[in-house]
Symmetry: C2
Subunit: 349 residues, 2 copies
């Protein structure tokens, strides 16, 4: 006798997987009805709905999204391509983006490009095979092949953490050139006269630095000491950067060291501490990234504050809006958001 409350395993097949048809049989309805009950419950009588759900539970059915995606040409998948995840200034962005997408039942395919356009190209091709509904890329500089593929894919594309006049589709970020310019003006205003720059060789970081150098030159400031280290940005790289700057026999010690990321800036602070160099008294330090990892935490550190989470949130919103628009074939809106940045001056003196 079957006891009540005993979970009835209706179809415990040797290892075969449960399909819509199995569920339909158990529920006593047509397969299509099961599909509807699961995906568009509003189109189904609540009574049959109940029967279906019960059958789903009884069978342990897990919908096969590969099949669903193939049939509907909607994958409910969004791909994210980043240079790296290590010590990443993107982590807030990814977190916010995924939060937004997950709550609308989209899943996330992650790809790491390692700052290489070839890798990005290969990854884009591989990922498009998965027929994602949308794709998010860090940066706006891609190989022509990448751009062509992405364009042909005819899906929403969001380029983030940068700005450009010729986006593939949507773009949400800020101008790295503008960052460099503003930092230069800000520091000159503050009265600094000698500068050090520490960067890793990531393209956007270098652009910020080059812009900074140009603006300094324009104002006839002394040529800054410029140290570039291999990506990714680590604390160790930051230490090394300051070491090189301070050990350079020929150079005068800069009054301030500008870093292309907060992680580097932390490394610089660590190196300064270990050398007994006081920050900001002996040397000032400026970082770049998200407030949560920099200012307020290191009162001696100035920083360029980027709202990484906002970029992620806006990207998710833009994508979801497009997805919805696609269903009601509304006109596509162009999206170009300059999230800006702010220069946060240190609190301690």
């Amino acid at each position: 006798m079957a006891k009540k409350n005993e979970k009835p395993i209706v179809i415990p097949p040797g290892g075969e997987s449960v399909t819509l048809i199995d569920v339909a049989r158990v529920a006593g309805v047509a397969p299509m009805t099961v599909s509807r009950a699961l995906n568009r419950p509003e189109l189904v009588k609540s009574d049959t709905q109940r029967k279906v759900l019960e059958a789903v539970r009884a069978t342990g059915y897990v919908p096969n999204l590969l099949a669903g995606g193939l049939a509907s040409s909607k994958s409910r998948l969004v791909a994210i391509l980043l240079p790296t995840i290590a010590n990443s200034i993107f982590s807030d962005t990814v977190q916010a983006l995924m939060d937004g997408l997950t709550s609308s039942n989209y899943q996330t395919l992650l790809g790491l490009t390692g700052y290489s356009r070839e890798k990005e190209e290969a990854l884009v091709e591989a990922i498009l095979g998965r027929r994602p509904d949308g794709i998010v890329l860090a940066g706006t500089s891609h190989s022509p092949a990448t751009i062509e593929r992405l364009t042909k894919a005819r899906i929403p594309v969001v380029e983030i953490w940068d700005l450009t006049d010729k986006p593939i589709d949507m773009v949400i970020g800020f101008s790295h050139e503008e960052v460099g310019r503003q930092v230069a003006r800000h520091l000159l205003d503050k009265g600094y006269e000698t500068f050090g720059i520490v960067s890793v060789d990531d393209p956007r970081g270098l652009r910020r630095c080059e812009s900074l150098k140009r603006e300094l030159a324009k104002h006839r400031a002394a040529k800054p000491v410029f140290e570039v280290l291999p990506a990714p940005a680590t604390l160790q790289a930051g230490r090394e950067g300051l070491s090189r700057i301070l050990d350079a026999a020929h150079a005068t010690k800069p009054q301030i060291v500008v870093c292309s990321s907060d992680t580097l800036a932390q490394g610089v602070l660590a190196e300064a501490a270990s050398r007994g160099v006081a920050v900001p008294r002996d040397i000032a330090v400026m970082g770049f990234g998200d407030l949560s990892t920099a200012a307020h935490v290191y009162p001696a550190l100035s920083t360029v504050r980027i709202d990484g989470a906002r970029i992620g949130t806006e990207a998710a919103r833009a994508l979801l809006e497009r997805f919805n628009a696609a269903e009601s074939d509304a006109p596509v809106k162009a999206v170009r958001i300059d999230t800006g940045f702010s220069i946060v001056e240190r609190q301690s003196t």
Copy 2:
């Protein structure tokens, strides 16, 4: 007249996507031959191979992996479930894991559980719908429903960053209880008598702390001051932790503060610096995580070193081995790797 070297766009269909059949037609072979030329080139004459590749290029064909996966019941997809990606001690692990998988043509689906078993449960269900070939989970503590689903899915499962006697399948990590015990003994040996502990409320971090407390009690050490902050671990949380410990009127100032992660430890260092408390002279600090973010960088910091990259590498290896074994239906090997940890004493005094 068509010029030479001009890329012949053979099928530029209004927006329809190119399929195997289109490529086959252009190459003048059967669809199946195209499939083989792409997936098992060794089974195809090099001449037809060439024709096919040319047709692929000419058409801009991108294989539909949804269809391929459905037909072959192999998705070439591995899912990774993590609590969070923010300031994450897992980033090295993810990087190494993805490097290993990507070079074998597997793609990665990322899920964020936020330390919540309910989220994990929902995520596992959603992800299994994608029919991944394998799945990697942070931690070994899951809801019964999660465990059942994972078991029923009959795919390789790797639990990482922890150890257990009853793994779902494979497990690669270390014992958090052992970390706590060893830290206690190490610090007692060093002669410390009063302790502070700063942790965020992540389950594994708390287990390390509880184990540490137990071992201290066992050795009749003074009861440590214990501050728990909400996850995720941030620099700010570390600052707050030390503040609370130092401001607690009732407590004696501990000689050492043990942190449940390197990020917290960095926050503690920042707070100490801003208060003019010298580390390690006035107060010693111990972190937890990966060497690259801690020791050598902060000579004043002791740390429990975890080789996160190794965990990722081993996980990738274990999965790939299983995937290969499945094709030659070799017997499945059990995998249980204790990656251990090491306590790294500070370098400065």
